[in-house]
Amino acid sequence: MSEMRVLMQGNEAVAEGAIAAGVRFYAGYPITPSSEIAEIMAKRMPQVGGTFMQMEDEIASIMAIVGASMAGKKVLTATSGPGFSLMQEGLGYACMVEAPIVILDSMRYGPSTGMATKVSQMDLMQTRWGTHGDHWVIVLSPASVEESYQLTMRAVNLAEKYRNPVIVLSDETISHLREPIDTSIPKAVVDRRLPTEKAGYLPYKTDETLVPTIANVGTGFRTSFTGLVHGESGFQTANGHVAEALVERLRDKLFNNLDDIIQFETDRVEDADILFMSFGITARGVSEAVESLRSHGRKAGSLRFVTLFPFDDDRVRKAAGNARTIVVPELNSGQLVLLVKRVFGDSRKVVPMNKINGDLISPQEILSFIREENL
């Protein structure tokens, strides 16, 4: 049978997607709504020859996966907003040392410990700007259980390819939702490039890809890494030229490859006069609303951000067609809409639609909103 569908929960799909991509080290501190990932990995890691570590907190968790990654393992940790806040220091460090790591953030209601069992999309900007300093991360946003599997697999591969932290930004609903997934999804595995010559080896020397070939710790190479600004040797420097070149390279290694990294899902954008821009679970209410509007003769369309960051204004502009009105529904007080407004300025009517009571935006609510706002 080419297609084999099984019922799976979102969190389970993340764990299995990670394992399929080669993750063999998980360190974490369980937190609702991501806890099942830790539970499943505690069972699955020993089965596949991997290691599971229950850590004392989220700072230790991210540091453990950075360490394991630099020693050559493919790694995952999973958390939610409160734990993701604690991980920010380690996230910046991972950007700086160029550790391929994957963090699953299942968004619950915030701020602080908020409502542990209620959904939100309030961590969007935290994924981008949660840690200090100019830095760049890849953020992927699944909208279903099957996509949780696929995007976690993709996240591991992108992390390895670009030696960069990748965040899978899920939410309470998708984490706990059960849907059938096709287990015959082809597995794609990308491995990091490694150095071959010990003579003249410099851990942070790069070629035209701008991605360094850092030796895994313990493989006989004399290696060094630090959160301080460093040159090709990996040792600290306060040289402004080196610092500038380093931070530019951290950006360019991703921005030179946006075609590879950025994915949108579009639905009938071409002739749309009203376009919805959304991400994650909210896009599923949008999808039904678009269907309903179309069935009533309204030219509606949808653009879903599968990749949220890097966020490329030109690509968004090109993918958005000519819709005069752009509605941005999200489960927060207005985060994605800030980016959409930056892209379009006053050239389109950009309308935020926000819900912050811990429930999803239903298709019916979107339709009522369109009516009430005369859009």
Partner: protein, 192 residues
């Protein structure tokens, strides 16, 4: 399945009664028959003793919005469950309650639901099996009896996938009991 190709089920009761497991079993059965499903639940402390809710959407095609918005069937086995999650129903909604453990809800009438079916689920289980352990599966039997949403044999297979061997016989009997109760509703059930 209604003509809009989407069947929506909400079950509510008390944490520990197995309603979430019941919704998962029905979901598995539907998948075995090639259908698409989305299953969800309230999550957290509620699932361990408080009021709980399990939801299932079954369709022949892709399900975009995964939550129940206008249930075809609402099955409640506690008063508190019905009070907390009994809203959001319409004239499309058939309501099933356990009359042996619940008072007849005063807010339901011909105007706001399709019908109320009150069945003495717990008392019948206890009189037959001296146990209410199969409550969730008896409820699945009632849902199957009312909707024939999947083939009965498929449902049995899905039950067997999830119930431990030593409890399987009791649960299969509970499934049959649920279906019998629907067949015998003219005698034992109260309908509005």
């Amino acid at each position: 399945m209604s003509n809009d190709n989407r069947f929506e089920l909400r079950m509510t009761g008390s944490g520990g009664q197995g309603l979430i497991l019941g919704s998962i079993i029905l979901a598995e059965a539907a998948i075995m028959e090639g259908k698409i499903v989305t299953q969800s639940q309230v999550y957290g402390a509620e699932a361990r003793g408080g009021t709980t809710k399990a939801e299932l959407v079954i369709s022949n095609k892709h399900i975009a919005y995964p939550k129940v918005t206008d249930p075809d069937l609402l099955a409640a086995v506690t008063n508190e469950g019905l009070r907390q999650y009994g809203g959001g129903i319409s004239r499309k909604t058939e309501v099933v309650i356990d009359s042996s453990a619940m008072s007849t809800p005063d807010f339901l009438n011909e105007e706001n639901c399709r019908g109320l079916l009150a069945l003495p689920i717990r008392s019948t289980l206890i009189s037959r099996f001296r146990s209410e352990l199969g409550l969730n599966i008896a409820l699945l039997g009632i849902i199957e009896g009312l909707t024939a949403i999947v083939d009965v044999e498929t449902l049995r297979k899905a039950v067997a996938m999830h119930i431990k061997k030593q409890f399987l016989d009791l649960n299969m009997k509970a499934l049959d009991l649920g279906m019998e109760m629907v067949e015998a509703q003219a005698k034992t059930g109260i309908r509005i």
